[in-house]
Symmetry: C2
Subunit: 334 residues, 2 copies
């Protein structure tokens, strides 16, 4: 069972979602700007593909895939994320429901609620929007979700399978990065990749797929030489590893960490960071880890923030949910 999506639309996608422009440098020469890897547009195309597949699935007599999104407390960012996920689900034909709890909910109550959803045959996917309140053990909560319904891919068993290159459910953001590299035909085989940030939900799984053997069962291996940098990588070493990289994936939440002089001309830069900052005019805006305007003059391809990895994450979550529904059906009918 390979997790490669349908590539039928790729050639048309490439035209619509890769944009490049020229600019005039300080000596008056026209130079090529990096191609912008438009995640929003690609995510739309992937959702359209999924919508068709889910329609076929339902036409074959299956019920629509079903996703339950649990949110505890009133963090506005979390509510926005869940709202986006539920909207995307509705768009592709997934029956999604948000289950809201006050932050007075106890860990035991949350665990019971998850267990009920685990046992419910009419539920295919369960996600618990993180962070959970500090009174709860996040790891314990993630491990309560049945691995087959764990569309976030955070359960120990799903992580173990990922790290052993076995078919599994991959954390959506990590899968989004790998899917963008594939869809935009960025060569990774034998290339140098740097992953900046070692979080267990993003940096670690990305590094795992980037370095792994493509011939293994998951089909997600990218065969790159991968360097994992993090908060304790000295600045000059981070700069040096990045300058030597064909692909930089950054996921730190540090605005402007990746500057133009750290990027090899023509390299691909995937920006997973997302931070809300206040600009000089006092307006708030979302920025990534990359000094976008300057890096665009050097890189070969670059994801914007917003509109890059973010919308792709939501699309891959929908992919995971449909995959969970299909596998659960395979299990119950076999």
């Amino acid at each position: 069972m390979r997790q490669i999506l349908c590539y039928s639309l790729v050639s048309s996608l490439l035209k619509s979602t890769m944009r490049s422009h020229t600019y005039i440098d300080s000596l008056g020469s026209a130079r090529m700007m990096a191609q912008v890897l438009d995640g929003k547009s690609l995510a739309k195309d992937i959702k359209d593909e999924l919508k068709l597949k889910i329609q076929e699935w339902v036409n074959r007599g299956h019920r629509a895939p079903s996703l339950k999104c649990i949110i505890v407390g009133d963090d506005p960012a979390s509510h926005t994320y869940v709202k986006n996920k539920v909207e995307a689900a509705k768009y592709v034909g997934i029956d999604a429901e948000t289950i809201k709890y006050e932050d007075t909910l106890t860990e035991a109550e949350l665990i019971n609620a998850i267990k009920e959803l685990n046992a419910d045959e009419n539920v295919d996917g369960i996600l618990v929007q993180l962070p959970v309140p500090e009174t709860m053990d996040e790891r314990k909560v993630c491990n309560t979700v049945a691995p087959k319904k764990d569309v976030d891919g955070f359960h120990i068993i799903n992580v173990g399978q990922l790290c052993l290159d076995m078919p599994t459910i991959v954390p959506a953001t990590a899968l989004a990065v790998i899917e963008m590299l594939k869809r935009f035909k960025i060569e990774t085989f034998g290339r140098n990749a740097v992953v900046v940030g070692r979080s267990k939900n993003v940096g670690m799984p990305i590094a795992m797929m980037l370095h792994s053997d493509k011939r293994h069962d998951s089909g997600l291996g990218m065969d790159a030489t991968v360097t994992i940098c993090h908060r304790y990588t000295p600045k000059e070493q981070l700069e040096s590893f990045c300058r030597n990289a064909d692909i930089i994936v950054t996921a730190t939440g540090i605005p402007s960490l990746i500057k133009a002089d750290m990027v090899k001309p023509g390299a691909t830069v995937i920006d997973v960071g997302i931070t809300r900052i206040t600009d000089e005019q006092g307006k708030t805006k979302l920025v990534g880890d990359v000094d976008y305007d300057e890096v665009r003059k050097v890189a070969g391809a670059l994801t914007p923030v917003p509109g890059g990895v973010g919308p792709m994450t939501v699309a891959m979550l929908m992919h995971n949910t449909f995959q969970a529904a299909q596998r659960l059906r395979d299990t119950t009918t076999n």
Copy 2:
């Protein structure tokens, strides 16, 4: 529960197990040779520590830890490995038994045998000597061993826990490398490490511990910047990454892959490779991945083959077995 072993003997160990010598270079100057990280001697000390602890454990009224080593077929190397493990077990006071099967054994029969050992309260550790016959699915066999008795650390759940920096059973060879770095006080924090080889039992778990956050629950994180190189890393890139590394861990089985001009003066080189070759006199001998005699003139510290990581692997397997016995006891009495 932290997996740090007792360090009481470290200072005396360091004297006895780190050796360095001088040599005369081509210009007639005396130069320092790398310290030889003597795994055999360190392994002996660790086994002596374990022997004491197990004696105390038994004196407190527990039965001796029990290890079952399953071997299928008649591969001579596999039989030698198992013999060494059983001998080490006896030395430290672990009650070890080898269970031998003909290679006509079916996968189903092996799985049943493992399940019986899983259910047996008098068994703490189970290992299946790899490789199993080609008629069997190695992954399925590894996942049949109960995670708490899986002293090889190959079960999906143990791998998942390792990759999430949770307390777990770590594959013995990977743990041997990390333990040598700790015992010989090789600084890893913020340093550059290269892991050559991406196997799931050796290279991958080593890279995982080397790059991880020391403050996490497992206590095994080493906070190094880690580059994972493999068969598809171009030769000149492998050379360049190695030359920039403070620590090189190589686990490829390719003799003389790591040459002196690839090693930064003063770097630590850990050689996990072990290959039997025939020398110019027609004699067979065991060699590692490292061009030992030449690299010794450049490196700061270096493990020999044989007598480096190999004996340490056996010692760490004993550590894993005693740990499994303790945890199983904790589980049944709580």
